[in-house]
């Protein structure tokens, strides 16, 4: 179990007959265990569909998607999803939300409590354990969602535009927190975003998708030293070069859509 993902000749069709739309066509892509991959593309390119397929929420029409060599069969605790709308359980406090996955796994109370507290502290949520989600800001809710997912220790993190609803400074803080977590916890991350800078800043590889139907267009490798402060990373040549590369590729895609 190293958390690798294998996608080969994936095809996803929604609807039947005249309603038939192909969302994803002949997509092949392999992600190594422990790798951080972002998927960018114009809206409607099927990037969220791809994530939901890996999560096991959607059936595939053709091809194979496997985790550690085993084809995916529905949702499972080897993967964890972080949604843009947080999807916290509103009737549970912060602590109870983080405990959920541990309860389902049958972890003894004391151990679960200690684990939950560790991730609450890691996400700077100490002091908010007994608050309900409605009492938290968007950024804090997303940190709770992250803590909840990390607590049950899935090998793979699937993130669907998780910072899309947050304002810029908050996004940056959470991005840096995510990099730290990824460095410390050895997770495979698949990160969906439409923000080119975010994709390049965070990931080792960026996959750009075409639209209608969605498939792999280009893959950009980003070789950044992310141990330094943010300002050093975003002003580096590699960052600028790769950002432009991804941006150009994405722009071609958007243009081709405007001029059919």
């Amino acid at each position: 179990m190293d958390g690798s993902i294998g996608i080969s000749n994936l095809e996803k069709v929604y609807g039947e007959g005249t309603e038939r739309t192909k969302a994803i066509d002949d997509l092949s892509f392999d992600i190594d265990g422990g790798e951080f991959v972002s998927v960018v593309g114009p809206s409607g390119c099927g990037k969220s569909t791809l994530l939901y397929i890996i999560a096991g929420f959607l059936d595939i029409t053709d091809g194979t998607v496997s985790v550690d060599g085993t084809p995916i069969d529905g949702p499972g605790t080897d993967r964890g999803v972080v949604f843009q709308d947080y999807a916290l359980f509103p009737w549970r406090t912060v602590k109870e939300n983080v405990l959920y996955g541990l309860e389902e796994a049958g972890v003894p109370d004391e151990e679960a409590d200690a684990t939950a507290q560790r991730f609450i502290d890691m996400m700077d949520l100490s002091g908010f354990e007994n608050k309900y989600p409605k009492e938290l800001s968007g950024g804090m809710k997303q940190r709770v969602a992250l803590a909840r997912t990390l607590a049950y220790d899935p090998k793979i993190l699937l993130m669907d535009e998780p910072f899309g609803a947050l304002d810029q400074p908050l996004r940056e803080t959470l991005q840096d927190q995510l990099i730290d977590i990824w460095g410390d916890l050895d997770k495979t991350v698949v990160f969906i975003t439409h923000d080119v800078e975010e994709a390049v800043y965070l990931s080792e590889r960026v996959m750009i998708m075409t639209r209608h139907p969605g498939t792999k267009k280009t893959v950009t490798e980003v070789d950044l030293d992310r141990s330094g402060p943010r300002e050093d990373i975003v002003t580096s040549d590699e960052f600028t070069r790769k950002k432009n590369e991804v941006w150009r590729s994405l722009r071609e895609e958007t243009k081709s859509e405007v001029q059919p």
Partner: protein, 258 residues
Amino acid sequence: MDVDVRSLGASSIVDSLKSIYSLVLLLVLWEAVTRMGLIYPYFLPQLSVVIHEFVVLVSTGQMIHAAYLTLMRAFVGLAGAAVAGVAVGILCARNALFEWFFDPLIKIGYPVPVISLVPVFMLWFGIGDVSKIIMVAVGTFWPIAVNARDATRQVEQNLIRSARMMGTGDRRLLWRVILPAASPGIFTGLQIATPIALIITFVFEMVAGGGGLGALEIAGVRGFNSAQTYAVIFAIIAIGLVLDRLLRAARTRLLDWT
């Protein structure tokens, strides 16, 4: 809990009187016009006479017993409707077969003024407790089922997905996610159903007798003792008010996360 500082002082009595000043004014007016003999006492006795009658009915135990009968019928019926209504409502939202069967029934059953079926219930089940309890159950089933169904349908897909991802299977999903997520809507259904349960019980008791507040109330009119009728109406208003407050308090307590 925010406690208003003023409510701790003596001015709180003045404040609460202010909030119901129109009511106080009407009661004073009632006593005044009846004392002046402007209204025939059988139509509207003096307020003081009604209050006296109320005290007498309570102290002889008549009112307490009648209230017990009414509340027992209303709440046994309501409890049955709650169990059945929540179960059917959730199943309708989660199961295609149940939806196919119950949705048309709910569409027709919900708007029916159940009270119009009292004669049929007397015909089928007689005029005793059982008949009244079944009537209450049938009448309150619909709003409870509809609210449970709609609340279940509105449970966010991503909550269910999150739970599944974290290892919650089909059977546990109901208890772990769907019921708690739908509970505010389910509670709303119960809040709507409670006064309906009381209305059905009162009316049935007026028509069919067998004791209870409805029977006591109409006996006042039939026995030329309208003070008794008004005294029972006071009791009914008080019960309605107290139940409404209790349900609201329970809601804030149980659903403090909403």
